[in-house]
């Protein structure tokens, strides 16, 4: 086979590139632009389809490019049964979603932006599932959280949408950090940074003392992303997003990223007690909680959202169950769920779009007006309900094969599965039948069949559920078997077919369906019961999230008040007190005080004169009657120091010192006039003494530090290096300048950037003061003003 790496790379970036074109395409062609935009995921889908024969033959495909070779980072991908199935789902359903969005968002002023976000998400999700390197996985994982945030908050003028977007970002973002920590653990424990190598490390992870820590961190990532109890609350809230987003991100793809991660890790981390306890427990709780919460809803989308949560729970439960058929069941259910749930969400959107409401109690009798939608809904519901001929049936049979064993644990989880599946059955048909059957109910809009753009998606996905069930041999050969083998980490053969075969699983299926039909017929009573129950329970994690967020805000406000009081005096005092402490405490604590310096043997007259000059400058500062004099007197001292530099041969330093001293006196004087301070110092004696103590302490600290430094043996290595090579390598005789512009040029580049930024900041501060002239002020209010 020819080298496909460049083509695969292109396909991975195609959604991102197309996303850039989306706004322009919609501006140019209106909602019809989505026909063109859908080509991108379609091409990627076709490209990944070409891998099917290879993967179904049991091979894996890896490829990639070096990214940062010095850090051993690569942009590499890893295709096996698991990632290829996901890639096909993402690009395939993605194609239909882009088309569907074209119809759903028709005429929306921001349709281009919406399609752009959807395509960005698609690129991120595709990257997530094919990533080989841990870092790439993490980056794409976070990208899906960010694009999901953008899509949930798409309707950003509504507060509910903003809150839900933020909530989803916080929950999945925190999970992402947990994932990062977990991946670092994996890397430390095994020494590999690539999934394709990780799956071959056998028992290293299971035997590691850090196994549990790594597992918990990774579960933190997976459970938040896949909305497992108790992190489930963001998912129903995410239904604030437009329906195509719910169908795509929050049922078919993104929420399955957590399940993907668990399935990926199953071969190396599965089959341990912790794994087999945590996953089924949380999965089972999520399954039951999700279905019960779904029963209570009347909004079509929310009903579906909670069953999605329940389905994710079922998948997690199966992934951790580790009996024969459990992995196969998870794989089959995952594929079936993506198809029927995507279809049902799109149906819900279609009904909403055409009839103007998605409240199931306000809908009815639409079958004549929307026949295609009804057919799609029915097909999807039959698959979701797990009735024969459909892919969902195969999945359910396989689930019961996996669960139905004699021991207590199996019996408990079988019961959980029966209750969960039965309730999901009821909801599937509530969504698919209630709006369409019965007497015609007056709806806000006069309903009629939606445009082809909108029914192609649900019709195709729902039919695939039937095709996959009938042609189960083909589906198993190309999808289920390779994927199950990848998840199990050993060859597995899926061979369940749609012909009912007598036995325990079929019996359990019949019980499930019977239970489901019963609940469906009594749906209103069941709903009332759930509403009463939930009212009795009161607040849930959703409310808790609000408490946590508002608590954090209050805490940060309190902390900010303490550390940013807004008074210049306090800032300066804190800075110099800390400076004095840093200088003095360590030298006293560790006995690093300098020796008493010896008195210099002979000092020339001019040297005495310069020292005298510095001392005079110092006294002039202290004795100055007003501030301006003090500033100028400080200059005297600075000049004296510059002369000392000059005498000791540091011409460049002296030169700069002269200039800096001059300019700082000028600038300080200008600042002082601008601040309109009273010319004299009016500090009360106590304050004066305190400030004097701080300055003496700082001065003492610097003196001691300098004396100690000069008493230590001086390392001349660098001096010699620069003296030797300055002329030879850098062609300059002035060593100081050569260091600045050549040897350490990059440092200088950074420094001049800082100089410029400082200039800009100072300029901004001055501007603020100009626009906001203060009346005659004292020191306190001026300090306040400076903060702004």
């Amino acid at each position: 086979m020819a080298d496909q790496a460049p083509l695969t790379l292109l396909c991975l970036f195609l959604p991102f590139l197309t996303a850039l074109l989306a706004p322009a395409a919609v501006r140019r062609f209106g909602h019809g632009g989505s026909w063109g935009l859908a080509l991108a995921p379609l091409l990627a889908f076709l490209h990944f389809l070409t891998f099917l024969p290879q993967i179904s033959a049991g091979e894996v495909v890896t490829g990639g490019y070096a990214w940062v070779p010095s850090l051993n980072l690569s942009f590499s991908w890893f295709l096996d049964g698991l990632s290829l199935t996901f890639a096909l789902l993402i690009t395939g359903i993605g194609t239909l979603i882009v088309l569907y969005s074209g119809g759903y968002m028709k005429g929306h002023p921001q349709q281009g932006r919406f399609l752009c976000f959807i395509l960005l998400f698609m690129g991120a999700m595709l990257g997530l599932v094919v990533s080989d390197s841990f870092l790439m996985l993490f980056v794409y994982w976070e990208l899906t959280s960010i694009t999901s945030f953008l899509l949930i908050g798409f309707d950003h003028e509504r507060e509910a949408a903003r809150r839900s977007a933020l909530q989803a970002l916080v929950v999945t973002g925190l999970g992402g950090l947990s994932l990062l920590a977990g991946l670092i653990f994996l890397w430390n424990m095994t020494g590999v940074t690539q999934l394709s190598l990780l799956v071959n490390v056998d028992d290293t992870l299971r035997n590691s003392p850090f196994y549990l820590a790594a597992l918990l961190l990774l579960l933190g990532g997976a459970f938040t992303k896949s909305a497992q109890f108790p992190f489930h609350f963001w998912l129903p809230n995410a239904m604030e997003a437009p329906t195509p987003v719910s169908a795509y991100l929050h049922s078919a793809t993104m929420v399955k990223a957590g399940v993907y991660l668990l399935m990926r890790l199953n071969p190396v981390m599965g089959a341990t007690p912790a794994w087999e306890i945590l996953l089924p427990f949380f999965g089972g709780v999520t399954l039951i909680a999700g279905t019960l919460l779904a029963i209570r809803q009347t909004d079509l989308k929310l009903m579906l959202a909670y069953t999605t949560m329940a389905s994710l729970g079922l998948l997690v439960m199966l992934t951790g169950f580790d009996t024969p058929h459990a992995v196969e069941a998870a794989v089959l259910y995952l594929v079936a769920h993506s198809l029927f749930k995507g279809a049902l969400f799109m149906v819900a959107g279609l009904v909403d779009h055409e009839a103007g409401t998605r409240d199931v109690t306000k809908l009815g009798g639409l079958r004549g007006d929307m026949p295609i939608t009804f057919a799609a809904a029915l097909l999807a519901a039959l698959s979701m309900g797990g009735l024969p001929l459909f892919l969902g049936f195969l999945a359910k049979e396989e689930i019961y094969y996996a669960l139905a064993h004699g021991d207590l644990r199996s019996i408990v989880f079988t019961l959980v599965a029966i209750v969960g599946n039965g309730l999901m059955f009821a909801i599937a048909f509530a969504v698919a039948l209630k709006p369409f059957l019965g007497p015609h109910v007056e709806t806000p809009k006069h309903a009629h069949e939606g445009p082809p753009l909108m029914w192609i998606g649900p019709a195709l996905l729902a039919s695939l559920g039937l095709v996959g069930g009938v042609l189960s041999g083909v589906a198993h050969r190309f999808v289920s078997t390779p994927m199950a083998s990848a998840v199990a980490g050993e060859p597995r053969l899926v061979e369940i077919s749609t012909i009912p075969h007598l036995g325990m699983p079929l019996l359990l299926s019949v019980i499930t369906v019977a239970f489901g039909v019963l609940v469906y017929l009594r749906l209103d009573q069941a709903r009332d019961m759930m509403v009463r129950l939930l009212t009795a329970i009161g607040s849930g994690p959703d409310r808790g999230f609000d408490h946590v967020v508002s608590g954090l805000v209050r805490l940060s406000v309190a902390v900010t008040r303490i550390v940013q009081p807004g008074r210049l005096e306090i800032y300066i005092t804190v800075t110099f007190v800390l400076l004095a402490l840093t200088l003095l405490v360590p030298s006293f604590l560790y006995g690093e005080l300098p020796d008493m310096p010896t008195w210099p043997d002979e000092l020339y007259f001019h040297e005495w004169a310069i020292i005298l000059l510095a001392v005079i400058g110092l006294f002039a500062v202290l004795r100055a009657s007003d501030r301006l004099t003090a500033i100028v007197s400080l200059g005297i001292q600075g000049f004296a120091v510059a002369v000392i530099f000059l005498l000791f041969g540091a011409a460049d330093l002296a030169f700069t010192q002269f200039m800096v001293e001059t300019l700082s006196v000028v600038i300080l004087a200008l600042v002082m006039t601008r601040l309109r301070l009273s010319p004299r110092d009016h500090r009360p004696p106590r304050q004066f003494a305190f400030d004097a103590a701080i300055s003496i302490a700082c001065g003492l600290g610097f003196t001691l530090l300098l004396m100690k430094t000069t008493q230590l043996p001086f390392n001349l290595e660098l001096t010699e290096f620069f003296n030797t090579y300055s002329k030879v390598i850098a062609h300059g005789a002035n060593v100081v300048n050569v260091i600045l512009v050549d040897f350490r040029g990059t440092d200088t580049l950074g420094e001049i950037a800082v100089v410029m930024i400082t200039g800009l900041a100072v300029l901004a501060l001055i501007r603020v003061r100009l626009r906001d002239p203060l009346p005659d002020t004292n020191v306190e209010t001026t300090a306040e003003g400076d903060r702004s």
Binding site: A651, D652, F655, T656, M659, V660, T662, L663, V666, I667, L670, V671, T673, R674, A730, H731, G732, A733, N734, V736, N737, V738, L740, V741, D742, G745, T746, T748, L749, I752, A753, V755, M756, T758, G759, L760, V762, L763, I766, R767, L770
Partner: protein
């Protein structure tokens, strides 16, 4: 502060300081001097002129906003570093050429253009602070 004496000597002093600043900048590689000190001298020159004739006169004379000058300097500095990448050596490696101008061999280098960048950044940043602070005197 616009006394007659200052107003009389300010133009020649400013001119001298500006010329001197360029001199200091160019000789910096072998003698005491360089872009930083040159920029400080030039900024002081602007400040003196501003004190004598008002800030608007300075702003008019230098045509560009001092921050634009600083930005130009930063760009020159960064580009001087980038040149070396095209020569296949690490960022900020000094490159030298020795063209002959009117029969005199003149050594030119990216380190010199870098130093010129430093000069403009310091001139622009310090100058704009000084001018902005002086501005109130005139209004």
């Amino acid at each position: 502060m616009n006394t007659l004496i200052l107003r009389t000597v300010a133009p020649p002093i400013t001119a001298l300081m500006l010329v001197f600043s360029v001199f200091v900048l160019l000789r910096g590689h072998n003698e005491p001097g360089g872009g930083f000190i040159g920029g400080l001298i030039a900024a002081s020159a602007l400040a003196i002129y501003g004190i004598a004739y008002g800030v608007s006169a300075v702003r008019h004379a230098i045509r560009f906003h001092p921050m634009a000058i600083a930005g130009f300097g930063l760009l020159v500095g960064a580009l001087s570093g980038v040149v070396s990448i095209f020569a296949g050596v690490p960022f900020m490696t000094g490159l030298w050429i020795y063209p002959s101008i009117f029969g005199v061999e003149v050594p030119l280098a990216t380190v010199i253009s870098f130093d010129i960048g430093v000069y403009f950044v310091v001139l622009g940043s310090v100058g704009s602070i000084a001018l902005a602070l002086e501005e109130r005197e005139t209004d």
